[in-house]
Protein backbone atom coordinates (compact mmCIF):
# COMPACT_ATOMS: atom_id res chain seq x y z
CA UNK A 1 0.00 0.00 0.00
CA UNK A 2 1.67 3.19 -1.08
CA UNK A 3 1.23 6.59 0.44
CA UNK A 4 -0.34 7.72 -2.81
CA UNK A 5 -3.09 5.15 -2.42
CA UNK A 6 -3.57 6.25 1.16
CA UNK A 7 -4.11 9.84 0.14
CA UNK A 8 -6.51 8.81 -2.61
CA UNK A 9 -8.63 6.68 -0.32
CA UNK A 10 -8.63 9.37 2.33
CA UNK A 11 -9.74 11.87 -0.27
CA UNK A 12 -12.54 9.63 -1.51
CA UNK A 13 -13.76 9.15 2.04
CA UNK A 14 -13.78 12.91 2.49
CA UNK A 15 -15.66 13.35 -0.75
CA UNK A 16 -18.25 10.82 0.31
CA UNK A 17 -18.68 12.68 3.56
CA UNK A 18 -19.37 16.07 2.08
CA UNK A 19 -20.69 15.51 -1.38
CA UNK A 20 -23.24 12.91 -0.41
CA UNK A 21 -25.93 14.98 1.23
CA UNK A 22 -27.57 17.33 -1.18
CA UNK A 23 -27.89 21.01 -0.34
CA UNK A 24 -31.10 21.88 1.31
CA UNK A 25 -33.58 22.93 -1.34
CA UNK A 26 -37.13 23.78 -0.46
CA UNK A 27 -39.54 23.00 -3.21
CA UNK A 28 -40.61 26.46 -4.30
CA UNK A 29 -42.83 26.55 -7.33
CA UNK A 30 -46.03 28.20 -8.44
CA UNK A 31 -47.84 25.03 -7.40
CA UNK A 32 -46.42 24.63 -3.94
CA UNK A 33 -44.28 26.49 -1.43
CA UNK A 34 -42.65 25.59 1.87
CA UNK A 35 -42.12 27.97 4.78
CA UNK A 36 -40.15 27.41 7.96
CA UNK A 37 -41.55 29.02 11.11
CA UNK A 38 -39.00 29.01 13.93
CA UNK A 39 -40.91 29.43 17.16
CA UNK A 40 -40.62 28.99 20.92
CA UNK A 41 -41.72 26.26 23.26
CA UNK A 42 -45.31 27.09 24.11
CA UNK A 43 -46.72 27.64 20.61
CA UNK A 44 -46.70 24.03 19.39
CA UNK A 45 -50.46 23.48 19.49
CA UNK A 46 -51.22 27.04 18.36
CA UNK A 47 -49.25 26.85 15.13
CA UNK A 48 -50.43 23.37 14.30
CA UNK A 49 -53.91 24.88 13.91
CA UNK A 50 -52.83 28.25 12.48
CA UNK A 51 -50.74 26.51 9.81
CA UNK A 52 -53.57 24.25 8.71
CA UNK A 53 -56.00 27.16 8.58
CA UNK A 54 -53.57 29.34 6.63
CA UNK A 55 -52.83 26.54 4.16
CA UNK A 56 -56.50 26.18 3.20
CA UNK A 57 -56.95 29.96 3.14
CA UNK A 58 -53.94 30.37 0.84
CA UNK A 59 -54.95 27.48 -1.37
CA UNK A 60 -58.42 28.97 -1.84
CA UNK A 61 -57.02 32.43 -2.52
CA UNK A 62 -54.09 31.67 -4.84
CA UNK A 63 -54.33 28.00 -5.75
CA UNK A 64 -50.86 27.48 -4.31
CA UNK A 65 -50.27 24.72 -1.76
CA UNK A 66 -48.25 25.82 1.25
CA UNK A 67 -46.50 23.56 3.72
CA UNK A 68 -45.30 25.21 6.91
CA UNK A 69 -42.49 23.46 8.73
CA UNK A 70 -42.23 24.09 12.45
CA UNK A 71 -39.24 24.24 14.75
CA UNK A 72 -39.77 24.69 18.49
CA UNK A 73 -37.37 25.22 21.36
CA UNK A 74 -36.28 27.73 23.98
CA UNK A 75 -36.78 31.22 22.50
CA UNK A 76 -33.15 32.25 23.04
CA UNK A 77 -31.68 29.11 21.55
CA UNK A 78 -34.04 29.30 18.58
CA UNK A 79 -32.92 32.87 17.93
CA UNK A 80 -29.32 31.70 18.11
CA UNK A 81 -29.99 28.89 15.65
CA UNK A 82 -31.48 31.35 13.13
CA UNK A 83 -28.42 33.55 13.57
CA UNK A 84 -26.21 30.50 12.94
CA UNK A 85 -28.02 29.77 9.70
CA UNK A 86 -31.30 27.98 10.40
CA UNK A 87 -33.24 29.12 7.31
CA UNK A 88 -36.35 30.54 8.98
CA UNK A 89 -38.76 32.37 6.68
CA UNK A 90 -40.60 33.67 9.71
CA UNK A 91 -39.78 33.72 13.40
CA UNK A 92 -42.36 33.78 16.17
CA UNK A 93 -40.41 34.13 19.40
CA UNK A 94 -41.30 34.68 23.03
CA UNK A 95 -40.03 38.23 23.23
CA UNK A 96 -38.90 41.04 20.96
CA UNK A 97 -35.34 40.95 22.26
CA UNK A 98 -34.75 37.59 20.62
CA UNK A 99 -35.77 39.10 17.25
CA UNK A 100 -33.74 42.27 17.88
CA UNK A 101 -30.69 40.05 18.12
CA UNK A 102 -31.27 38.80 14.57
CA UNK A 103 -31.30 42.38 13.33
CA UNK A 104 -28.40 43.63 15.43
CA UNK A 105 -25.98 40.71 15.14
CA UNK A 106 -26.88 39.07 11.86
CA UNK A 107 -28.56 41.87 9.86
CA UNK A 108 -31.11 39.26 8.83
CA UNK A 109 -33.89 41.85 8.98
CA UNK A 110 -34.01 45.64 9.43
CA UNK A 111 -33.72 47.12 12.91
CA UNK A 112 -37.22 48.65 12.64
CA UNK A 113 -38.82 45.23 12.08
CA UNK A 114 -41.24 45.77 14.97
CA UNK A 115 -42.96 48.65 13.16
CA UNK A 116 -43.72 46.57 10.07
CA UNK A 117 -46.77 44.85 11.58
CA UNK A 118 -49.53 46.18 13.86
CA UNK A 119 -49.37 46.04 17.68
CA UNK A 120 -45.56 45.89 17.96
CA UNK A 121 -45.52 42.88 15.61
CA UNK A 122 -47.28 40.92 18.30
CA UNK A 123 -50.54 39.41 16.97
CA UNK A 124 -51.51 37.84 20.29
CA UNK A 125 -50.46 38.46 23.87
CA UNK A 126 -50.34 36.63 27.12
CA UNK A 127 -49.32 37.31 30.67
CA UNK A 128 -47.80 35.57 33.66
CA UNK A 129 -50.17 33.93 36.15
CA UNK A 130 -49.80 31.43 38.98
CA UNK A 131 -50.71 27.78 38.71
CA UNK A 132 -51.33 26.23 42.13
CA UNK A 133 -52.42 22.83 43.36
CA UNK A 134 -56.11 22.10 43.85
CA UNK A 135 -57.66 24.01 46.75
CA UNK A 136 -54.64 26.34 46.88
CA UNK A 137 -53.30 24.76 50.12
CA UNK A 138 -50.60 27.41 50.61
CA UNK A 139 -53.12 30.27 50.20
CA UNK A 140 -51.26 32.00 47.42
CA UNK A 141 -53.06 35.15 46.29
CA UNK A 142 -50.42 37.53 44.98
CA UNK A 143 -46.71 38.02 44.31
CA UNK A 144 -45.89 38.75 47.95
CA UNK A 145 -47.07 35.25 48.92
CA UNK A 146 -44.39 33.71 46.73
CA UNK A 147 -41.45 34.70 48.87
CA UNK A 148 -42.91 33.52 52.15
CA UNK A 149 -40.74 30.88 53.80
CA UNK A 150 -41.96 27.37 53.03
CA UNK A 151 -43.51 28.21 49.66
CA UNK A 152 -41.85 26.34 46.83
CA UNK A 153 -41.96 28.11 43.45
CA UNK A 154 -41.33 26.55 40.02
CA UNK A 155 -40.19 28.73 37.12
CA UNK A 156 -37.64 28.13 34.35
CA UNK A 157 -34.21 29.70 34.10
CA UNK A 158 -34.44 33.31 32.82
CA UNK A 159 -31.14 32.78 31.04
CA UNK A 160 -32.66 30.16 28.76
CA UNK A 161 -36.43 30.76 28.84
CA UNK A 162 -38.55 33.64 27.59
CA UNK A 163 -41.41 32.90 29.99
CA UNK A 164 -39.03 33.12 32.93
CA UNK A 165 -37.82 36.53 31.83
CA UNK A 166 -41.38 37.85 31.63
CA UNK A 167 -42.04 36.39 35.09
CA UNK A 168 -38.91 37.94 36.56
CA UNK A 169 -39.87 41.36 35.22
CA UNK A 170 -43.47 40.98 36.45
CA UNK A 171 -42.24 40.23 39.98
CA UNK A 172 -39.86 43.17 39.86
CA UNK A 173 -42.57 45.52 38.60
CA UNK A 174 -44.95 44.36 41.36
CA UNK A 175 -42.35 45.12 44.05
CA UNK A 176 -41.58 48.48 42.51
CA UNK A 177 -45.28 49.39 42.43
CA UNK A 178 -45.74 48.82 46.20
CA UNK A 179 -46.05 52.10 48.12
CA UNK A 180 -42.54 53.45 48.51
CA UNK A 181 -41.08 50.70 46.34
CA UNK A 182 -37.49 51.25 45.26
CA UNK A 183 -35.14 49.28 43.01
CA UNK A 184 -33.28 48.12 46.13
CA UNK A 185 -36.48 46.73 47.62
CA UNK A 186 -37.44 45.17 44.31
CA UNK A 187 -34.12 43.44 44.15
CA UNK A 188 -34.50 42.12 47.68
CA UNK A 189 -38.05 40.99 46.87
CA UNK A 190 -37.00 39.08 43.76
CA UNK A 191 -33.94 37.62 45.53
CA UNK A 192 -36.17 36.18 48.27
CA UNK A 193 -38.55 34.81 45.64
CA UNK A 194 -35.71 33.02 43.85
CA UNK A 195 -34.59 31.52 47.18
CA UNK A 196 -37.87 29.57 47.12
CA UNK A 197 -37.16 27.96 43.75
CA UNK A 198 -35.92 24.34 43.97
CA UNK A 199 -35.47 23.63 40.23
CA UNK A 200 -34.59 25.85 37.30
CA UNK A 201 -35.66 24.05 34.14
CA UNK A 202 -34.35 25.30 30.83
CA UNK A 203 -37.76 25.94 29.29
CA UNK A 204 -41.42 26.59 30.06
CA UNK A 205 -42.48 23.08 29.04
CA UNK A 206 -39.81 21.58 31.27
CA UNK A 207 -41.17 23.55 34.22
CA UNK A 208 -44.72 22.45 33.52
CA UNK A 209 -43.56 18.83 33.49
CA UNK A 210 -41.69 19.34 36.76
CA UNK A 211 -44.75 20.89 38.41
CA UNK A 212 -47.48 18.71 36.93
CA UNK A 213 -45.80 15.35 36.36
CA UNK A 214 -43.13 15.33 39.07
CA UNK A 215 -45.30 17.07 41.67
CA UNK A 216 -42.58 19.57 42.62
CA UNK A 217 -43.50 22.99 44.05
CA UNK A 218 -46.56 24.74 45.45
CA UNK A 219 -46.90 27.29 42.66
CA UNK A 220 -45.67 27.64 39.11
CA UNK A 221 -45.09 30.99 37.41
CA UNK A 222 -46.52 30.28 34.01
CA UNK A 223 -47.57 31.73 30.72
CA UNK A 224 -51.32 32.28 31.05
CA UNK A 225 -51.89 30.15 27.94
CA UNK A 226 -49.79 27.32 29.37
CA UNK A 227 -51.66 27.51 32.68
CA UNK A 228 -55.02 27.39 30.90
CA UNK A 229 -53.80 24.49 28.78
CA UNK A 230 -52.67 22.66 31.91
CA UNK A 231 -55.98 23.15 33.74
CA UNK A 232 -58.08 22.30 30.67
CA UNK A 233 -56.17 19.44 29.09
CA UNK A 234 -53.55 18.00 31.34
CA UNK A 235 -54.69 17.86 34.87
CA UNK A 236 -58.18 16.49 35.43
CA UNK A 237 -58.92 19.15 38.03
CA UNK A 238 -55.74 18.88 40.05
CA UNK A 239 -54.70 22.47 39.50
CA UNK A 240 -56.18 25.92 39.57
CA UNK A 241 -55.10 29.31 38.34
CA UNK A 242 -54.46 32.24 40.65
CA UNK A 243 -54.46 35.63 38.99
CA UNK A 244 -52.21 38.13 40.80
CA UNK A 245 -53.23 41.77 41.34
CA UNK A 246 -50.86 42.86 38.60
CA UNK A 247 -48.69 41.22 35.99
CA UNK A 248 -46.91 41.97 32.76
CA UNK A 249 -48.27 42.19 29.22
CA UNK A 250 -46.24 39.50 27.49
CA UNK A 251 -45.93 40.28 23.80
CA UNK A 252 -44.53 37.40 21.74
CA UNK A 253 -43.08 38.79 18.52
CA UNK A 254 -43.42 37.63 14.93
CA UNK A 255 -41.32 38.75 11.96
CA UNK A 256 -40.44 37.85 8.41
CA UNK A 257 -36.71 37.11 8.07
CA UNK A 258 -35.74 39.19 5.04
CA UNK A 259 -32.47 37.40 4.36
CA UNK A 260 -34.23 34.04 3.97
CA UNK A 261 -37.37 35.10 2.10
CA UNK A 262 -35.36 37.11 -0.41
CA UNK A 263 -33.09 34.16 -1.12
CA UNK A 264 -35.90 31.66 -1.35
CA UNK A 265 -38.43 33.98 -3.00
CA UNK A 266 -41.04 33.38 -0.32
CA UNK A 267 -41.67 36.95 0.80
CA UNK A 268 -45.23 37.18 -0.51
CA UNK A 269 -46.50 34.06 1.17
CA UNK A 270 -44.48 34.68 4.37
CA UNK A 271 -45.96 38.17 4.76
CA UNK A 272 -49.45 36.88 4.03
CA UNK A 273 -48.92 34.16 6.66
CA UNK A 274 -48.09 36.68 9.39
CA UNK A 275 -50.95 38.97 8.38
CA UNK A 276 -53.25 35.95 8.59
CA UNK A 277 -52.43 35.76 12.31
CA UNK A 278 -54.09 39.18 12.68
CA UNK A 279 -57.20 38.16 10.71
CA UNK A 280 -60.44 37.26 12.52
CA UNK A 281 -59.84 33.59 11.77
CA UNK A 282 -56.23 33.69 12.96
CA UNK A 283 -57.24 35.61 16.09
CA UNK A 284 -59.98 33.11 16.84
CA UNK A 285 -57.49 30.23 16.69
CA UNK A 286 -55.13 32.14 19.00
CA UNK A 287 -57.97 32.65 21.50
CA UNK A 288 -58.89 28.98 21.33
CA UNK A 289 -55.30 28.21 22.33
CA UNK A 290 -55.62 30.59 25.28
CA UNK A 291 -53.65 33.49 23.82
CA UNK A 292 -55.19 36.91 24.33
CA UNK A 293 -56.35 38.13 20.91
CA UNK A 294 -55.72 41.71 19.74
CA UNK A 295 -58.87 42.07 17.64
CA UNK A 296 -61.57 43.65 19.88
CA UNK A 297 -64.40 41.55 18.44
CA UNK A 298 -62.61 38.28 19.15
CA UNK A 299 -61.40 39.54 22.51
CA UNK A 300 -65.00 40.31 23.55
CA UNK A 301 -66.10 36.85 22.50
CA UNK A 302 -63.48 35.16 24.66
CA UNK A 303 -63.51 37.73 27.48
CA UNK A 304 -64.67 35.20 30.09
CA UNK A 305 -61.54 33.16 29.52
CA UNK A 306 -59.13 35.98 30.31
CA UNK A 307 -59.54 37.71 33.70
CA UNK A 308 -58.97 41.44 33.81
CA UNK A 309 -55.89 42.52 35.75
CA UNK A 310 -53.44 45.39 35.76
CA UNK A 311 -50.84 44.72 33.08
CA UNK A 312 -47.63 46.72 32.93
CA UNK A 313 -45.53 46.73 29.75
CA UNK A 314 -41.82 46.31 29.20
CA UNK A 315 -41.78 49.54 27.19
CA UNK A 316 -43.25 51.71 29.95
CA UNK A 317 -41.82 50.05 33.05
CA UNK A 318 -38.40 48.99 31.82
CA UNK A 319 -37.66 51.15 28.77
CA UNK A 320 -37.87 48.30 26.27
CA UNK A 321 -36.30 44.86 25.96
CA UNK A 322 -32.80 46.01 25.04
CA UNK A 323 -32.54 47.89 28.31
CA UNK A 324 -34.28 45.21 30.36
CA UNK A 325 -31.99 42.52 28.98
CA UNK A 326 -28.85 44.53 29.77
CA UNK A 327 -30.04 45.45 33.27
CA UNK A 328 -31.35 42.09 34.40
CA UNK A 329 -30.29 39.13 32.30
CA UNK A 330 -26.93 39.88 30.66
CA UNK A 331 -23.74 38.25 31.93
CA UNK A 332 -23.10 39.60 35.44
CA UNK A 333 -26.37 41.58 35.53
CA UNK A 334 -28.95 41.54 38.33
CA UNK A 335 -30.09 37.93 37.89
CA UNK A 336 -26.50 36.71 38.15
CA UNK A 337 -25.83 39.03 41.11
CA UNK A 338 -28.80 37.63 43.02
CA UNK A 339 -27.25 34.17 42.91
CA UNK A 340 -23.69 35.32 43.53
CA UNK A 341 -24.77 37.13 46.67
CA UNK A 342 -27.52 34.86 47.91
CA UNK A 343 -25.84 31.54 48.58
Amino acid sequence: MTTRNAILIAFLLGLGLFAGPAPQAWAQSPASVTLLNVSYDATRELYRDENAAFASYWKAKTGQAVVIQQSHGGSGSQSRAVLDGLPADVVSLALAYDVDVLAARGHLLPADWQARLPDNSSPYTSTIVFLVRKGNPKHIRDWNDLNRPGVSVVTPNPKTSGAARWAFLAAWAYALDRPGGTPVQARDFVARLYKNIPVLDSGARGSTNTFVERGIGDVMLSWENEALLATHDLSRGQFQIVVPSESILAEPAVAVVDRTVDRQHTRTVAEAYLRFLYSPQGQEIAAQHFYRPRLPAVARKYAAQFPALKLITVGQSFGGWQKAQATFFADGAIFDQIYQAGH
Binding site: L17, P21, A25, S71, H72, G85, L86, P87, R205, D233
Partner: protein
Protein backbone atom coordinates in the same frame (compact mmCIF):
# COMPACT_ATOMS: atom_id res chain seq x y z
CA UNK B 1 -7.63 -8.47 25.48
CA UNK B 2 -10.43 -10.01 23.56
CA UNK B 3 -14.13 -10.26 24.09
CA UNK B 4 -14.13 -13.74 22.62
CA UNK B 5 -14.36 -15.58 25.88
CA UNK B 6 -17.44 -14.05 27.49
CA UNK B 7 -19.58 -17.12 27.05
CA UNK B 8 -16.92 -19.80 27.36
CA UNK B 9 -17.94 -22.94 29.09
CA UNK B 10 -15.09 -23.16 31.60
CA UNK B 11 -16.63 -21.87 34.79
CA UNK B 12 -13.77 -20.44 36.71
CA UNK B 13 -15.87 -19.32 39.65
CA UNK B 14 -16.99 -22.82 40.47
CA UNK B 15 -14.29 -23.07 43.08
CA UNK B 16 -15.54 -20.03 44.98
CA UNK B 17 -17.45 -20.80 48.18
CA UNK B 18 -21.17 -21.04 47.66
CA UNK B 19 -22.03 -18.28 50.11
CA UNK B 20 -19.77 -15.84 48.22
CA UNK B 21 -21.30 -16.84 44.91
CA UNK B 22 -24.83 -16.36 46.18
CA UNK B 23 -24.04 -13.12 47.97
CA UNK B 24 -22.27 -11.54 45.02
CA UNK B 25 -24.78 -12.76 42.47
CA UNK B 26 -27.67 -11.57 44.60
CA UNK B 27 -26.09 -8.16 45.10
CA UNK B 28 -25.37 -7.72 41.39
CA UNK B 29 -28.81 -8.88 40.29
CA UNK B 30 -30.44 -6.53 42.77
CA UNK B 31 -28.23 -3.64 41.74
CA UNK B 32 -28.81 -4.14 38.01
CA UNK B 33 -32.52 -4.66 38.53
CA UNK B 34 -32.89 -1.44 40.48
CA UNK B 35 -30.48 0.58 38.44
CA UNK B 36 -31.17 -0.62 34.88
CA UNK B 37 -34.50 -2.45 34.90
CA UNK B 38 -36.40 0.32 36.67
CA UNK B 39 -35.61 2.95 34.00
CA UNK B 40 -36.48 0.36 31.37
CA UNK B 41 -39.75 -0.31 33.18
CA UNK B 42 -40.51 3.41 33.17
CA UNK B 43 -39.87 3.61 29.42
CA UNK B 44 -41.94 0.57 28.47
CA UNK B 45 -44.57 1.18 31.15
CA UNK B 46 -45.26 4.70 29.90
CA UNK B 47 -45.07 3.65 26.26
CA UNK B 48 -47.68 0.94 26.75
CA UNK B 49 -49.79 2.85 29.28
CA UNK B 50 -52.49 3.57 26.70
CA UNK B 51 -52.42 0.11 25.21
CA UNK B 52 -50.69 -1.60 22.32
CA UNK B 53 -52.90 0.08 19.76
CA UNK B 54 -51.92 3.57 20.85
CA UNK B 55 -48.30 2.42 21.03
CA UNK B 56 -48.26 1.24 17.42
CA UNK B 57 -50.29 4.21 16.31
CA UNK B 58 -47.79 6.67 17.74
CA UNK B 59 -45.01 4.91 15.82
CA UNK B 60 -46.93 5.40 12.58
CA UNK B 61 -46.95 9.19 12.94
CA UNK B 62 -45.30 10.70 9.81
CA UNK B 63 -42.96 12.94 11.83
CA UNK B 64 -41.89 9.98 13.95
CA UNK B 65 -41.30 7.90 10.82
CA UNK B 66 -39.19 10.70 9.36
CA UNK B 67 -37.18 10.80 12.60
CA UNK B 68 -36.64 7.04 12.46
CA UNK B 69 -35.43 7.31 8.86
CA UNK B 70 -33.09 10.18 9.72
CA UNK B 71 -31.60 8.29 12.66
CA UNK B 72 -31.05 5.21 10.54
CA UNK B 73 -29.49 7.35 7.82
CA UNK B 74 -27.15 9.16 10.23
CA UNK B 75 -26.11 5.92 11.92
CA UNK B 76 -25.87 4.25 8.50
CA UNK B 77 -23.30 6.82 7.38
CA UNK B 78 -21.51 7.35 10.69
CA UNK B 79 -21.05 3.74 11.76
CA UNK B 80 -19.42 2.36 8.57
CA UNK B 81 -17.18 5.42 8.31
CA UNK B 82 -16.13 5.12 11.93
CA UNK B 83 -15.64 1.39 11.49
CA UNK B 84 -13.25 2.10 8.61
CA UNK B 85 -11.48 4.87 10.51
CA UNK B 86 -11.40 2.75 13.64
CA UNK B 87 -9.97 -0.24 11.80
CA UNK B 88 -7.22 1.93 10.32
CA UNK B 89 -6.51 3.52 13.69
CA UNK B 90 -6.48 0.22 15.53
CA UNK B 91 -4.20 -1.35 12.92
CA UNK B 92 -1.82 1.57 13.29
CA UNK B 93 -1.81 1.48 17.07
CA UNK B 94 -2.04 -2.26 17.52
CA UNK B 95 0.57 -3.34 15.00
CA UNK B 96 3.22 -0.64 14.88
CA UNK B 97 5.56 1.29 17.11
CA UNK B 98 6.23 4.80 15.84
CA UNK B 99 7.02 8.20 17.27
CA UNK B 100 3.86 10.03 18.28
CA UNK B 101 1.89 6.85 18.91
CA UNK B 102 0.70 8.03 22.28
CA UNK B 103 -0.37 11.32 20.72
CA UNK B 104 -2.44 9.51 18.09
CA UNK B 105 -3.98 7.24 20.72
CA UNK B 106 -4.86 10.21 22.89
CA UNK B 107 -6.38 12.13 19.99
CA UNK B 108 -8.55 9.17 18.99
CA UNK B 109 -9.98 9.18 22.49
CA UNK B 110 -10.38 12.95 22.66
CA UNK B 111 -14.08 13.02 21.64
CA UNK B 112 -14.91 11.03 24.78
CA UNK B 113 -13.66 13.91 26.94
CA UNK B 114 -15.48 16.63 25.02
CA UNK B 115 -18.95 17.52 26.19
CA UNK B 116 -21.45 16.67 23.43
CA UNK B 117 -22.80 20.21 23.68
CA UNK B 118 -19.33 21.55 22.91
CA UNK B 119 -18.95 19.07 20.06
CA UNK B 120 -22.10 20.53 18.51
CA UNK B 121 -20.83 24.05 19.12
CA UNK B 122 -17.55 23.24 17.34
CA UNK B 123 -19.44 22.22 14.21
CA UNK B 124 -21.47 25.43 14.39
CA UNK B 125 -18.23 27.42 14.78
CA UNK B 126 -16.90 25.84 11.59
CA UNK B 127 -19.99 25.65 9.40
CA UNK B 128 -22.56 28.02 10.96
CA UNK B 129 -23.64 31.22 9.19
CA UNK B 130 -21.23 33.17 11.41
CA UNK B 131 -18.58 30.45 11.38
CA UNK B 132 -15.36 30.01 9.42
CA UNK B 133 -16.88 28.50 6.29
CA UNK B 134 -20.48 29.63 6.77
CA UNK B 135 -20.40 32.51 4.29
CA UNK B 136 -18.72 30.35 1.63
CA UNK B 137 -21.26 27.58 2.12
CA UNK B 138 -24.14 30.03 1.97
CA UNK B 139 -22.77 31.58 -1.21
CA UNK B 140 -22.72 28.14 -2.82
CA UNK B 141 -26.16 27.31 -1.47
CA UNK B 142 -24.84 24.45 0.67
CA UNK B 143 -26.18 23.61 4.11
CA UNK B 144 -24.23 21.74 6.75
CA UNK B 145 -25.60 22.83 10.12
CA UNK B 146 -29.36 22.50 10.55
CA UNK B 147 -29.33 19.88 7.81
CA UNK B 148 -28.39 16.23 7.42
CA UNK B 149 -24.60 16.75 6.93
CA UNK B 150 -24.28 18.55 10.27
CA UNK B 151 -26.21 15.83 12.06
CA UNK B 152 -24.00 13.17 10.48
CA UNK B 153 -20.84 15.10 11.35
CA UNK B 154 -21.90 15.49 14.97
CA UNK B 155 -22.69 11.78 15.16
CA UNK B 156 -19.34 10.82 13.63
CA UNK B 157 -17.49 13.07 16.09
CA UNK B 158 -19.21 11.67 19.16
CA UNK B 159 -18.83 8.01 18.15
CA UNK B 160 -15.34 8.30 16.68
CA UNK B 161 -13.37 6.49 19.45
CA UNK B 162 -15.45 3.37 19.97
CA UNK B 163 -14.28 0.98 17.21
CA UNK B 164 -10.59 1.83 17.58
CA UNK B 165 -10.85 1.54 21.36
CA UNK B 166 -12.29 -1.96 21.25
CA UNK B 167 -10.14 -3.18 18.39
CA UNK B 168 -6.64 -1.88 19.15
CA UNK B 169 -6.03 -3.94 22.31
CA UNK B 170 -7.43 -7.05 20.61
CA UNK B 171 -5.18 -6.56 17.57
CA UNK B 172 -2.15 -6.10 19.78
CA UNK B 173 -2.98 -9.10 21.91
CA UNK B 174 -3.62 -11.36 18.92
CA UNK B 175 0.00 -11.08 17.81
CA UNK B 176 1.48 -11.19 14.31
CA UNK B 177 2.58 -14.79 13.84
CA UNK B 178 -0.18 -15.98 11.53
CA UNK B 179 -0.04 -12.76 9.53
CA UNK B 180 3.66 -13.16 8.98
CA UNK B 181 3.21 -16.74 7.92
CA UNK B 182 0.56 -15.70 5.42
CA UNK B 183 2.77 -12.93 4.07
CA UNK B 184 5.64 -15.37 3.62
CA UNK B 185 3.29 -17.58 1.62
CA UNK B 186 2.69 -14.66 -0.71
CA UNK B 187 -0.65 -13.27 0.52
CA UNK B 188 -1.31 -9.61 -0.17
CA UNK B 189 -1.86 -7.08 2.60
CA UNK B 190 -5.62 -7.01 2.06
CA UNK B 191 -5.83 -10.80 2.00
CA UNK B 192 -4.02 -10.93 5.31
CA UNK B 193 -6.38 -8.35 6.76
CA UNK B 194 -9.59 -10.04 5.65
CA UNK B 195 -8.58 -13.70 5.80
CA UNK B 196 -6.26 -13.78 8.79
CA UNK B 197 -6.53 -10.76 11.06
CA UNK B 198 -10.21 -9.86 11.04
CA UNK B 199 -11.41 -13.42 11.79
CA UNK B 200 -9.16 -13.36 14.87
CA UNK B 201 -10.56 -10.11 16.22
CA UNK B 202 -14.10 -10.27 14.85
CA UNK B 203 -15.75 -10.15 18.27
CA UNK B 204 -13.86 -7.06 19.27
CA UNK B 205 -14.73 -5.44 15.93
CA UNK B 206 -18.37 -6.44 16.21
CA UNK B 207 -18.54 -5.18 19.75
CA UNK B 208 -16.96 -1.86 18.79
CA UNK B 209 -19.46 -1.48 15.96
CA UNK B 210 -22.36 -2.30 18.30
CA UNK B 211 -21.29 0.30 20.86
CA UNK B 212 -20.67 2.83 18.11
CA UNK B 213 -24.10 2.15 16.66
CA UNK B 214 -25.90 2.39 19.99
CA UNK B 215 -24.24 5.72 20.76
CA UNK B 216 -24.85 6.97 17.21
CA UNK B 217 -28.56 6.30 17.37
CA UNK B 218 -28.97 7.61 20.92
CA UNK B 219 -26.86 10.76 20.67
CA UNK B 220 -28.74 13.78 21.94
CA UNK B 221 -26.57 16.70 23.09
CA UNK B 222 -24.38 17.28 20.04
CA UNK B 223 -27.13 16.60 17.52
CA UNK B 224 -29.50 18.88 19.41
CA UNK B 225 -27.14 21.83 18.82
CA UNK B 226 -26.77 21.27 15.07
CA UNK B 227 -30.25 20.02 14.20
CA UNK B 228 -32.44 23.12 14.13
CA UNK B 229 -35.32 20.95 15.35
CA UNK B 230 -37.35 21.18 12.15
CA UNK B 231 -40.04 18.60 12.76
CA UNK B 232 -40.27 15.86 10.20
CA UNK B 233 -37.05 17.05 8.61
CA UNK B 234 -34.05 17.42 10.95
CA UNK B 235 -35.33 15.82 14.15
CA UNK B 236 -33.61 12.52 14.92
CA UNK B 237 -35.28 9.95 17.16
CA UNK B 238 -33.85 11.34 20.41
CA UNK B 239 -34.90 14.86 19.37
CA UNK B 240 -38.34 13.63 18.35
CA UNK B 241 -38.65 12.03 21.80
CA UNK B 242 -37.88 15.37 23.40
CA UNK B 243 -40.31 17.17 21.10
CA UNK B 244 -43.11 14.70 21.85
CA UNK B 245 -42.39 14.87 25.58
CA UNK B 246 -42.63 18.65 25.46
CA UNK B 247 -45.91 18.28 23.54
CA UNK B 248 -47.16 16.40 26.63
CA UNK B 249 -47.46 13.29 24.45
CA UNK B 250 -45.77 11.05 26.98
CA UNK B 251 -47.01 7.79 25.50
CA UNK B 252 -45.72 8.64 22.04
CA UNK B 253 -42.42 9.97 23.42
CA UNK B 254 -41.70 6.81 25.35
CA UNK B 255 -42.92 4.64 22.47
CA UNK B 256 -40.16 6.12 20.31
CA UNK B 257 -37.72 5.71 23.19
CA UNK B 258 -38.67 2.06 23.56
CA UNK B 259 -38.13 1.55 19.84
CA UNK B 260 -34.66 3.05 20.15
CA UNK B 261 -33.90 0.72 23.05
CA UNK B 262 -35.16 -2.25 21.04
CA UNK B 263 -33.05 -1.24 18.02
CA UNK B 264 -29.95 -1.01 20.18
CA UNK B 265 -30.67 -4.17 22.14
CA UNK B 266 -31.38 -6.04 18.91
CA UNK B 267 -27.75 -5.67 17.89
CA UNK B 268 -26.69 -7.07 21.27
CA UNK B 269 -29.06 -9.99 20.97
CA UNK B 270 -27.65 -10.74 17.51
CA UNK B 271 -24.19 -10.70 19.04
CA UNK B 272 -25.16 -13.10 21.81
CA UNK B 273 -26.83 -15.37 19.23
CA UNK B 274 -23.76 -15.35 16.96
CA UNK B 275 -21.54 -16.15 19.91
CA UNK B 276 -23.65 -19.02 21.09
CA UNK B 277 -23.80 -20.45 17.55
CA UNK B 278 -20.03 -20.19 17.36
CA UNK B 279 -19.71 -21.85 20.74
CA UNK B 280 -21.93 -24.80 19.86
CA UNK B 281 -19.98 -25.65 16.73
Amino acid sequence: MSTAGITVRAIPGAADPAWARWLLTGAVVLFLAVFLLLPLAVVFGTALASGLHAYLGSLRDPETQAAIRLTLLAAGIAVPLNAAFGLAGAWLIGKFEFPGKRLVTGLIELPLSISPVVAGLMIVLLFGAQGWWGPWLAAHNLSVVFAVPGIVLATIFVTFPYVARELAPALAAAGNDEEEAALTLGASGWQVLFRVTLPKVKWALLYGVILCNARAMGEFGAVSVVSGHIRGLTDTMPLQIEALYDDYQFTAAFAVASLLVLLALASLIIKVWLESREGSQ
